[in-house]
Amino acid sequence: MNGPQLGDIRPCLEGAIPAAMATCGEDGMPNVAYISQVYYVDERHVALSFQFFNKTRRNILANPRATVLLLHPQTAAFYRLSIRYLRTETAGPLFEGMKAQLAGIASHTGMQDVFRLRGSDVYEVEQIEAVQGHPLPAPPPRAGMLTAVRRYSERLARCTSLDEALNAVLATLSDFMGVEHAMVLMLDAGSQRLYTVASCGYPTSGIGSEIGMGQGVIGVAARERTPVRITHMTNAYLYSQAMRSSFEAAATDAEALTEIPYPGLAQPHSQLAVPVLSAGRLLGVLFVESLNDLQFGFEDEDMLVAMAGHLGAILDLMQASTETPEPAPPATGPLAEAAGAPLRLRHFGANDSVFVDNAYLIKGVAGAILWKLLRDYVELGRTEFSNRELRLDAAIRLPDVTDNLEARLVLLRRRLAENSPHIRIEKTGRGLFRLVVRRPVELIEG
């Protein structure tokens, strides 16, 4: 193909300006319609939003050839696409990616009650024509994205722990992409929920807060394993505590007690969630949001996908390396004596939740880990532990062998640091750590 490639005209495929589409019926009568979305699928395919059963729809099913007129939103250059209809998708990654984009477009254009995605019509792009005209000069290409990937890659390569890797992710987002609000969530394969392990830019960290598969932008990105990007404020994907409560009306009081509030913005105008995958498995989600419209374009999405790929690989590598602990360094002198009033720690076996002086701390796998550490500490006087023994301990009930134990420890360490500073977990080596207890503890079961 000569002339522009689809990748060259991606600014035209952001839904900023509606496209026009011509089709032709069996009777030979042409038809013209506005189309909200011409969505980039890959270098040879676009998907158009199928919202209404209309003349365009009937025509395309009878005669698959169509011509689309696109306008570049900054230069006003026209491009004409000769396309051929292939199929309609009504679920899955492409559909969900388009549905999210359409929700933003609908909200921006006051059409939220009218625009509804029925399907993603996939077309092969046969030809792209750059229409002659008098376009405005193109804005300079966005600089520095490759450099940002490089810096991130360097930072990540130096990391020796998951803590450091998570910090490298958040620092790269804020240093190079101007991101002010971000989260990293990990998948709990057993409950099929995502839990927050790192965040920045929120009044509370929300470490430990959970999101279900399919809930909000984050949950849809996880369920469909596809980036989900919204460029305008929309109610369609708002995730809030209230929404969760109504979704999960069966939530019991006990569940409400152990709920850590979701830290995200109440009124985000731009949101982008990207799945973190490795070897075909979903590990978690990288999420950024903003109070501004149009904050995240396709280049930000490209960048986040690249970052998520690196992160997924490093998560798996670190996981593998912690399974074979290196020898512990010699103890650095006697540990400080526990002193002061005793902490009362209560454990509920039903969900492995742990409360410190009646305040909720943690539950699930991380709760089971903490309880095992505390019992060994109280009953056996142990303070040195390894990832490996936790994985082998049946009482902890890790969902499966691929579960990211290191991420559980990061979650536990951060929850303790924020809520119970008298109990700490310190890394002492690869796959090794120490429990530091600064006050006497009293363990209560149930």
Partner: protein
């Protein structure tokens, strides 16, 4: 002469100057499409003229010449209020200096219309930029008109009938 196809408020919208997209098709039923750089109404909407840049629309103009078929959409950007007109006997001529005031008036209206949805007049001027000696006027008597505003009534026949 037939009765007007279109209600007065739609005619007023079209006469004011809103977005106009023109489509046709070749003998193999491959559709063609381009945005018009101007439009005008005569005889209470019974005669409609749309203006296209020849070098931007070579396939479309060839198709209109060969088939006479046109589909033309008028749409108000801020409200999505949209009407589509269809005809089977469109005619073409080169634009004349006498068409120039119409094109200027159309550009002025479009700058306002597009600004209402947040795009600066410079974008509209670039989008509609043309040279008069490159402009072709396509005129037609609409045979059918359809309400095409997104929503429940989209696709409703406003007037006219298929032959």
């Amino acid at each position: 002469m037939t009765a007007p196809l279109l209600p007065p408020d739609l005619l007023a919208m079209m006469d004011r100057g809103v977005s106009v997209i023109v489509g046709s098709r070749d003998l193999a039923m491959r559709p063609s499409v381009m945005r018009a750089v101007g439009s005008s109404l005569a005889q209470g909407g019974r005669s409609i003229t749309v203006y296209l840049s020849r070098r931007q629309s070579s396939q479309l103009l060839q198709d209109v010449a060969a088939s006479g078929h046109v589909a033309v959409v008028f749409s108000e950007p801020a409200t999505h209020r949209t009407v589509q007109l269809k005809a089977r006997h469109a005619t073409m001529r080169n634009a004349q200096p006498s068409d120039e005031p119409l094109l200027a008036r159309y550009l002025e209206s479009m700058e306002r219309e597009i600004q209402r949805v947040g795009h600066p007049p410079a974008l509209t001027r670039a989008m509609l930029a043309h040279r008069l000696d490159d402009i072709v006027a396509i005129s037609f008597e609409p045979q059918e008109a359809f309400d095409q505003t997104p929503g429940a009534k989209a696709g409703t026949l406003l007037g006219g009938s298929a032959p």
